[in-house]
């Protein structure tokens, strides 16, 4: 630990009175950020744990329900976030080298990626909302069956939310058959073939097998909590980026003072990293 005193070599960097050196100050702030990231991981860890338990106990729910998600949008969002992590890392380098214009530009690109991610997430959420692919009792089983067979409308089912065979009278659902599903839903068809009778709800009485796993809403409960909490973190990160952009264009950061950009970058990477786990766990189930 250096005992350097005085502010001569620090440039614009303000050394708080309780630190002996800028290095000590920088390392303290960096350690604090890493500890904060640990708390983030443990917070999401609870949800990953819930995910693991329900998936282990009810694999059929996850196999079936994930086909109701849009893999392509999820993949695009993954690319968007990965790219934003790249621009963020580059921004940190620009800050270290004192390249102010480049720094501002890269932060803006990162922020735009954040908007892009949330926009695509918004499209996905509104789609789920429209079809009633929601949590708990809000989940629309009729619509889920109809959607899986490529005939989802979502118009005339709104009043009949519920589950466990409550929609036997819905003609649109009854006369569709899962094995005849469109090409994109082969997964669902395969799952249905494997389904144990006991684990499924018969959607019609006496007609051909139109079965759907019980408690599909569990998947969507977990999906919305995990992606929702992640989305809140992206929003927080976008707020942070805006603040960094304001400070960077003011010229606050320099060769000796890039701590805030560095720490912001760490936060942005952890948010990205969590999504890297969420995407395969929720969208790519086999």
């Amino acid at each position: 630990m250096s005992t350097a005193t005085g502010n001569a070599h620090e440039g614009r960097h303000e050394l708080a009175h309780y630190f002996d050196s800028t290095r000590q100050q920088f390392e303290s702030h960096k350690l604090a950020m890493w500890l904060f990231l640990c708390t983030e991981i443990l917070m999401f860890g609870g949800l990953f744990c819930a995910y693991a338990i329900y998936r282990a106990n009810h694999p059929e729910i996850f196999l079936y329900a994930h086909t109701l998600l849009d893999k392509n949008l999820g993949a695009i969002n993954t690319i968007v976030l990965l790219f934003s992590s790249f621009t963020m890392a580059w921004a940190v380098r620009a800050a270290m080298l004192g390249q102010r214009r480049l720094l501002v530009g890269l932060l803006v690109v990162t922020l735009l990626c954040g908007f892009g991610f949330m926009g695509i997430k918004g499209i996905e959420y509104s789609h789920k909302w429209k079809h009633g692919f929601l949590w708990g009792e809000q989940f629309d089983y009729t619509e889920a069956v109809a959607y899986a067979s490529g005939k989802g409308h979502g118009d005339d089912h709104a009043a009949e939310t519920g589950h466990e065979g409550a929609h036997a009278d819905d003609e649109a659902a009854i006369h569709t058959e899962v094995p005849a599903a469109t090409a994109g839903d082969e997964d669902a068809a395969a799952v249905m073939a494997e389904l144990d009778q006991a684990a499924a709800v018969t959607m019609d009485h006496g007609h051909d097998a139109e079965r759907i796993p019980r408690n599909l809403h569990i998947f969507f409960g977990i999906y919305f909590v995990m992606t929702g909490l992640h989305g809140i973190h992206v929003l927080a990160g976008m707020g942070m980026l805006t603040w960094l952009i304001v400070r960077a264009s003011r010229g606050d950061f320099g060769v000796r003072n890039y701590t805030a950009v560095d720490l912001g970058g760490l936060y942005w990477h952890i948010v990205d990293l969590i999504w890297i786990f969420l995407f395969p766990l929720l969208y790519l189930i086999h």
Binding site: Q24, F36, M43, I218
Partner: protein, 562 residues
């Protein structure tokens, strides 16, 4: 631990001398509410936490009064449920978790490191503000109809009952942030702000304890955060994860809850053990016995604390294998705890024990914590736990550890550092009287609960069979005695502020760095270069009659006598 190594650390920059001490360094309410000074934040924490303690104590007395008779005494059964819930929630989340780390730790940790402040003063202030907001939310829930779930918020009851469950769980979420911020701050400060010459094994044991506590705060609290968020989502949206009617699993809630809340009891007790480690050495005038054993046992407790949560769920239907493993792990956590107790006793052995008020409390701690710890073994044993689970035996056990342990150590710490905090000496005589009244009242209150619990009295019941009345009456009378003792203890401190003698720099003869600062310290803590010594070497100081405190022996002028 290196002995005799004496280094001088120059920490004084000489260009920021404020007038007077930290209490007078700025005036007005704003200078307190928005201060970045760790000492002021600690003092504000202390005041707020003691207020929460008073509130939780009032609820406790109301509960005990209701239980004086087997039937309704002063309140309805619903009100009774709300009372014991609020007592538990306030005492746990507002008083005993932040108690020692946030109030005493904030004040003492930078001083013990010879630092000018914690590493992140703004985060420290934010932690206090968040604590106040969370506390206000908890108190507001009383006005919003109260909560009757018990402080554990078990599902599915907590997701179906009426009342302000969302508000209370949200307040727990907010308070969790306060706890995390304190934890991050302490870890960073201990890592980065130790003075040159103070390695890990030259740190006072209080810092080891606070460090181990901070690790638990940082790693366990986020899990509680997500748990209460899920409860809120369950109530507000019907998310179904804990709701059996929707295919959810209520036992999963118990796992999540205890994954935090078991480590949380070590957040409560570890700093208390740190306080006792300091006090036992200072008031026995003898270097602490087994320094490294105590230091490592703090870390061992922190690690073990994450592996034993299942012992709260022995009767919840978890697998037999899990039950056996959790039982074995629970027994093993008693090893590092016992290591500490034996080291304290060995420190006192043949020491020159001085029964000053902080030491009296420390002795009370060792006695009560010993009972609390040993009765824990009954609960860790599977066969006995099935009988004792959810009985008053459990209530008595955790009050012996949490109240007889942590609260007593909190009082010991307050008395010990009071002269440093406020520069006033208190009446030792009345301080000791208060400690003895508390000791008697406490044992009457809770020992009777061991007996009735073993005889089968379930916890949380409003009515009970008449054969338990004698124990309940004893317990209630004990609680009044306990309350009187606590008021005496508080009165002694308040009196010292008004009429106490001025405190010397080092009234107890401590060798840790905070006793080199003025009483009370100046704004930037130290006004002269620090003399870094072994924190448990008491040979380099002597009692000075004129000063009414200990002064360092100047090795060049006076030959050492020991």
């Amino acid at each position: 631990m290196s002995t005799g190594a004496t280094t001088t650390v120059d920490h004084v920059d000489g260009h920021d001398h404020h007038e007077g001490n930290y209490l007078t360094a700025g005036r007005g309410l704003r200078s307190w509410l928005f201060t970045l000074d760790h000492k002021r934040i600690g003092v504000m924490y202390l005041g707020t936490i003691l207020f929460a303690f008073l509130l939780g104590g009032i609820f406790a007395l109301l509960v005990r009064t209701e239980l004086l008779t087997p039937q309704q005494t002063i309140m309805s059964a619903d009100d009774y449920n709300r009372m014991f819930t609020l007592h538990g929630a306030i005492m746990t989340f507002l008083f005993i978790i932040p108690g020692i780390p946030a109030a005493l730790g904030n004040f003492i940790l930078p001083l013990m490191l010879g630092a000018k402040d914690v590493a992140l003063p703004r985060l420290n202030l934010a932690s206090y503000h968040i604590y106040v907001i969370g506390s206000l939310m908890a108190v507001a829930s009383i006005l919003a109809g109260g909560v009757d779930t018990g402080w554990t918020f078990y599902t599915p009851y907590s997701t179906t009952t009426n009342g302000a469950v969302i508000l209370v769980t949200l307040s727990v979420f907010v308070l969790g942030f306060s706890s995390i911020f304190t934890g991050i701050n302490f870890i960073v400060t201990v890592h980065r702000m130790r003075p040159a010459g103070m390695g890990w094994f030259q740190m006072p044991l209080m810092l080891w304890a606070l460090y181990a506590t901070a690790i638990i705060q940082v790693l366990a609290t986020p899990v509680l955060a997500i748990t209460v968020l899920l409860i809120i989502a369950e109530r507000a949206l019907g998310i179904g994860i804990f709701d059996p009617a929707l295919g959810g699993d209520p036992v999963l809630f118990q796992h999540f809850f205890w994954f935090y809340s078991h480590p949380a009891v070590y957040i409560m007790i570890l700093p208390a053990m740190g306080v006792i480690s300091e006090l036992v050495a200072i008031f026995s005038r003898k270097p602490i016995f087994g320094y490294k054993a105590i230091a490592y046992s703090s870390i061992a407790i922190a690690v073990f604390s994450f592996l034993v949560w299942g012992h709260h769920m022995f009767v919840s239907g978890q697998s037999e294998l899990a039950v056996v493993i959790f039982s074995a792990l629970t027994f093993s956590v008693s090893i590092p705890s016992a290591v500490k107790v034996f080291n304290w006793l060995s420190t006192m052995y043949r020491g020159a024990i001085r029964l000053e008020t902080p030491m009296v409390y420390a002795l009370v701690f060792i006695f009560l914590f010993g009972i609390g710890g040993l009765t824990g073994l009954f609960l860790a044993s599977l066969a006995t736990d099935v009988h004792l689970h959810d009985s008053y035996f459990v209530v008595a056990h955790f009050h012996y550890t949490m109240m007889g342990g942590t609260m007593i150590a909190f009082l010991a710490g307050i008395y010990h550092w009071w002269p440093k905090m406020f520069g006033k000496m208190f009446s030792q005589k009345w301080g000791n009287i208060g400690a003895i009244v508390i000791f008697v009242g406490f044992n009457v209150t809770f020992f009777s609960q061991f007996v009735m619990g073993a005889k089968g009295m379930p916890r949380r019941y409003f009515n009970y069979p008449p054969e338990f009345e004698i124990y309940h009456v004893m317990s209630s009378i004990g609680s009044y005695v306990l309350a009187i003792g606590l008021f005496i203890a508080a009165g002694v401190l308040v009196h010292s502020l008004i009429a106490g003698k001025k405190a010397p720099v080092n009234p107890w003869g401590g060798a840790t760095l905070e006793w080199q600062a003025a009483s009370p310290p100046i704004h930037h803590n130290f006004d002269s270069p620090l003399l870094l010594t072994n924190p448990y070497d008491y040979t380099a100081q002597r009692w000075d009659e004129a000063e009414q405190g200990y002064v360092p022996v100047d090795p060049e002028k006076e030959p050492q006598t020991t």
